[in-house]
Symmetry: C2
Subunit: 340 residues, 2 copies
Amino acid sequence: MTSVLSDVVNHQVRLAARPKGMPGPEIWEHTTEPVAEPADGTFVVRISHISLDPAMRGWMNDARSYIPPVELGAVMRAGGVGEVVASAHDRFPVGSFVSGVFGVQEYAVSDGRGVLSIDPDAAPLASYLGTLGMTGFTAYFGLFDIGALKEGETVVVSGAAGAVGNAVGQLAKIKGCRVVGIAGGPEKCAWIVDELGFDAAIDYKSENVGKALRAQAPDGIDVYFDNVGGEILDAALARLARGARVVLCGAISQYNAEGKMVGPANYMSLLVNRARMEGFLVFDFADRYAEATAELVGWMQEGKLSSREHVVKGSVADFPETLLLLFRGENTGKLVLDIT
Amino acid sequence: MTSVLSDVVNHQVRLAARPKGMPGPEIWEHTTEPVAEPADGTFVVRISHISLDPAMRGWMNDARSYIPPVELGAVMRAGGVGEVVASAHDRFPVGSFVSGVFGVQEYAVSDGRGVLSIDPDAAPLASYLGTLGMTGFTAYFGLFDIGALKEGETVVVSGAAGAVGNAVGQLAKIKGCRVVGIAGGPEKCAWIVDELGFDAAIDYKSENVGKALRAQAPDGIDVYFDNVGGEILDAALARLARGARVVLCGAISQYNAEGKMVGPANYMSLLVNRARMEGFLVFDFADRYAEATAELVGWMQEGKLSSREHVVKGSVADFPETLLLLFRGENTGKLVLDIT
């Protein structure tokens, strides 16, 4: 066959240095490469949308974690969706759409491991990085499995206007819970209450979170889903109900801190309230993604669940600056870079 | 009946002020009272042994917790064992032996709520405050229920020469686990290894706990039973195995801290390792004390479990000074004041 790839240049963003604090422009290197024909058992994806996630900050550190750090000089790790444009792989023919960890670049070669087929007609492509992707799965398994949510409970979620947080609140509402979201600024707070149906919002930038939690969760918090860590985690710990579950999903307030992390001083509330705090990684639930997808799609079709993406249009070169929106709390919903 | 109590004076220790930091002699008041004949449905206990527990420090604070604080002017709350010397209660006749929360005094009147009958011939009275009492129950339910211990796992316990800690280690050995105890000083470390059969001991006063844990638990910690909090909790969090359980039983390193508690900076290890940290109170397992007693007595009779009490002989007036042994880490085993 004649190649569609012969004249194609792949623009990439590589990690050139490990950041201290906020990841500034100096840690990135912009490179180009030709795109090779796929070898047997592989295929080439033209990436359309790139996922931007708080976890990326951890991947940049040279530290032991649940996956190896991104190596210096490597294309930055990132989830993405796109179309297969050349293929020597049975399951992923040319013209099919896929999601996977394709990196911050325009084209990726894959052997199919960890790649999911997606249906571009069922939902917008970007939503496969949001509520129909890892983001939604994280909310689903975190809330239902780790949080062991029961109907009618009081749920508090931090980072509530963020990608995972807004899905968590919507899922808890579907289960008949009282849902309080903690977010930064009046627009986000209005959005989660007026558009998503949260029962209440707490603006951590203008309110005392501890006092507000006392008012909004007077009988205590049954499930606290934490995306931020720091002082907000501490405030929530102080308001746990007996038998509460604290779901550790992230700690974005701490990711760019230089020096030691701040631990939750109120952790002994776990003892007083016979409560537990538990961490999880969505990858451990990979064999149940189909189950989650079916439920999430069903709720979307019933109009009970909406996927909100904060889409920035641009090129891969805009990745470094776009990422900072996350750490400055400037995104509402799932942050996605659209490079089509 | 003629009273055995007519000339009896009950010496008591009352909480006169709330401590800041270490509870010094100035916070206690020593009082005497006559002992009244028991009203219908009550009985009088002559206390022989008084339990001294780290939790007492929390009871002295004027703060919301799992039970109300000791009120100023009240007899200090304490567990104890003794003999019934006057009774108008069906279940607790004169001459029977009992354990219960009788306070720091020589005589207590009780209506029987929360009181257990004990057998002075089956074990020394003091052991009903130790391994056959709340101390042993705490180890039992904390390790087996909250810790969900499985055979062959690696268990680390802090405060390992303390009342609960030494029982935890022995129970884990009975279940075929590798057991590492963290304790202060060479005598305690030698005791838990040589006498109790722990696989290893770490002396936190002379060793770097993090390094020592890396050496003694090279594949990570499956269950960490925490009695101390602070830096040792942090060091253990940094060494968790995947799926680990952290059992929060106490935080003695923090109880006398003035100012804010120090939280565990490494708590995000719970996320990376898909681990959980959970608190509990032994009182919640009251309906299973009989089950625990039967098992614990069985293991003691088989010679697999020993109860070690650190008995101080004296009078109730010696309570304030004896209590400080706990917070200075000077007890080995269960600290008991023998006032016979």
